[in-house]
């Protein structure tokens, strides 16, 4: 359980503006152990999706990995050519996107899309592929899979489509499944069903997950460990229970306070003042300083490093160093 599957080391992603390199992700370091679910939380634009795209090697030009490494067990992924990367995508790494409505190809049946995913990586015969596709549909809880096999995406509801997406992603039994807000576009009851399904699939297969969400309730349910990102940097990382009991970083505290709950029913919902800073504005200090209730003069001087607090938690804030 303690072996790591994915090791991301001081990953910096950005683009060049003329001769000036602009970093959107900065020195991101984390690892995912085998069988573990790592959650990534943060506001929109803090680099969550960018991290997942970098791992998948799907950064669209002009974005590129400027520094750092991404290792999948023994394999370094950052230097791979598109062709070499294609061998890992879908096979060892799979990804589920936010919008089940638009992530399926509208002109093919869901069965043929699952079969396509199988055919890219596995040398199976036609009848084997079909059999496996139906098994997968059954696995993700789609009723009467033989019939649904021939359905087009528009004939399915949002929840069913997300199940179909999951079936496609699981086709080649990936070792790491990246989920980029997989339930954000679904309504709450369907959301619960999908999360249930993902949890049980993970139990069965022992794969690792990287779960991106801004819904802390979902995070509580799914993640073993959580990374809190802000402005392209990791500000805090901790097991979910510890993070819930005692958030250390002021930003994490802010996120936690912004969850609506029953006893704050008639109060105005808390929100962290200000907005995420533009990555083009270079500031020498802590990115959060402008919005932080505890900000001091020193905060503006240098970026606080990620300091380990105990064996499995660290935080990047001047208050704790």
């Amino acid at each position: 359980m303690n072996e790591s599957l994915l090791d991301v080391n001081s990953l910096t992603v950005g683009y060049r503006d003329g001769s000036r390199p602009i970093s959107i992700l900065n020195q991101v370091t984390f690892r995912i152990r085998k069988g573990e679910t790592l959650g990534i939380v943060g506001e929109s634009g803090c680099g969550k999706s960018m991290t997942s795209l970098a791992v998948m090697g799907l950064l669209a030009s002009p974005l590129q990995v400027q520094e750092g490494s991404i290792r999948l067990e023994e394999t370094e992924l950052t230097g791979l050519s598109a062709k070499q990367m294609n061998r890992y995508r879908g096979k060892d790494l799979a990804m589920i996107f936010q919008e089940p409505m638009t992530s399926l190809n509208p002109v093919f049946t869901i069965g043929s899309q699952i079969e396509e995913a199988l055919a890219i990586h596995l040398p199976l015969s036609r009848s084997e592929v079909r059999k496996r596709a139906i098994e997968l549909l059954q696995l993700v809880g789609i009723p009467s899979p033989e019939k649904r096999h021939g359905d087009y995406p528009h004939q399915l509801s949002g929840g069913m489509r997300q199940r179909a997406m999951i079936a496609i992603a699981l086709a080649c039994e990936p070792r790491l499944l990246i989920l980029d807000e997989p339930t954000t576009a679904l309504d709450v009851t369907i959301q619960a069903q999908i999360l249930e399904l993902l949890a049980s699939l993970k139990e069965k297969s022992g794969m690792s997950m990287m779960f991106i969400t801004h819904d802390l309730g979902v995070m509580m349910k799914m993640a073993d460990r959580v990374i809190v990102m802000y402005g392209g940097r990791i500000v805090e990382t901790a097991p979910i229970a510890k993070l819930y009991e005692e958030p250390l970083h002021p930003y994490t505290q802010g996120l936690w306070k912004a969850i609506p709950s029953a006893d704050t029913l008639n109060q105005r919902l808390y929100s962290i003042p200000g907005t995420v800073p533009d990555p083009r504005e270079e500031t020498p200090g802590c990115r959060f300083a402008g919005r932080c209730p505890h900000a001091r003069q020193e905060c503006l001087a240098a970026v606080p490093p990620l300091v380990p607090m105990d064996e499995d938690r660290s935080v990047a804030c001047i208050l704790y160093s």
């Binding site: 799907l58 294609n86 638009t102 992530s103 190809n105 509208p106």
Partner: protein
């Protein structure tokens, strides 16, 4: 496809096109004459033995019309297929890869579009020499840009769609994404354009043959028959009329069919009906 038969105008077009295709295919069975056989006196009027009369050297006009149909439809079909093939590949590549390659291909296609199609086809024929294969090539060439543009446009809209990203995340390579994911989503505008280009290909072929640069005698073609008929307009008007009507009706039907295909394939147009 069923909807097309329900709509009276497209049903008429489909039936006419089927009829003319059958006539052309079954030509040897339908007429007792060969297309180059001098069967009677020149410039006879309509009669039971010569349905549309005879031409200036006494060949049966009906026979020549159906044989010419073979030529015109074949040239039209082949040149449209040539245009489709090259146009789709160029459009996919330029839309998908973008950048300098896109600029190069697009400017080349713009260059082709700058010429009126019949002039360009004439120039190509003049260089290659007049025969049926060169006619297909020339007509195909002038229709490449329109297919390329349609494909490129639809690649540009499809490229950023999430399902393309999703296929990439499953490890699909560039080729698979272009031909297996994006192209199948771009088929309906291409199908419509296929029908419209087929019509203009038939028209250009007739034009080239009318000018003597297309199919060479004695092989009949609607265009060259019109050319021959115009000298006898007062003596034998039927000659011109049937040759003209063959071109006119075929082109009209292909165009109308293209229009109704567009109506039925475009979901936005569907809502209005």
């Amino acid at each position: 496809m069923k909807k097309l038969w329900k709509d009276p105008s497209s049903a008429f077009c489909l039936s006419f096109l089927l009829l003319i295709t059958l006539l052309a295919l079954l030509a040897p069975l339908l007429t007792p004459y060969r297309y180059d056989q001098i069967a009677a006196d020149p410039l006879l009027g309509a009669s039971w033995s010569h349905l549309f009369g005879t031409d200036e050297i006494g060949r049966d006009i009906f026979t020549r019309i159906v044989y010419a149909g073979q030529v015109s439809l074949l040239v039209g079909l082949c040149s449209t297929l040539i245009a489709l093939l090259f146009g789709v590949v160029l459009g996919l590549v330029s839309g998908y890869y973008g950048g300098a390659l896109d600029a190069l291909i697009s400017r080349f296609l713009d260059g082709l579009l700058a010429f009126p199609s019949i002039i360009l086809a004439l120039a190509v024929m003049a260089v290659l020499g007049p025969n049926i294969y060169n006619a297909m090539l020339a007509i195909g060439l002038v229709s490449v840009p329109i297919f390329a543009r349609i494909t490129r446009g639809s690649v540009l809209t499809m490229k950023s769609r999430e399902f393309v990203e999703a296929s990439r995340s499953m490890g699909a390579g560039d080729g698979r994404i272009m031909f297996g994911v994006i192209l199948p989503n771009s088929l309906s505008p291409l199908l419509v354009q296929f029908s419209l280009t087929f019509a203009s290909a038939v028209l250009i072929e007739a034009g080239l043959s009318f000018l003597g640069l297309g199919v060479q005698p004695p092989t009949p073609s609607w265009g060259s028959m019109l050319n021959a008929a115009k000298s006898y307009l007062t003596i034998s008007p039927l000659y011109s009329i049937v040759a003209g009507a063959a071109v006119f009706l075929t082109v009209l039907c292909l165009n109308l069919l293209g229009d109704s295909l567009r109506d039925h394939l475009d979901p936005r147009m569907n809502k209005r009906r």
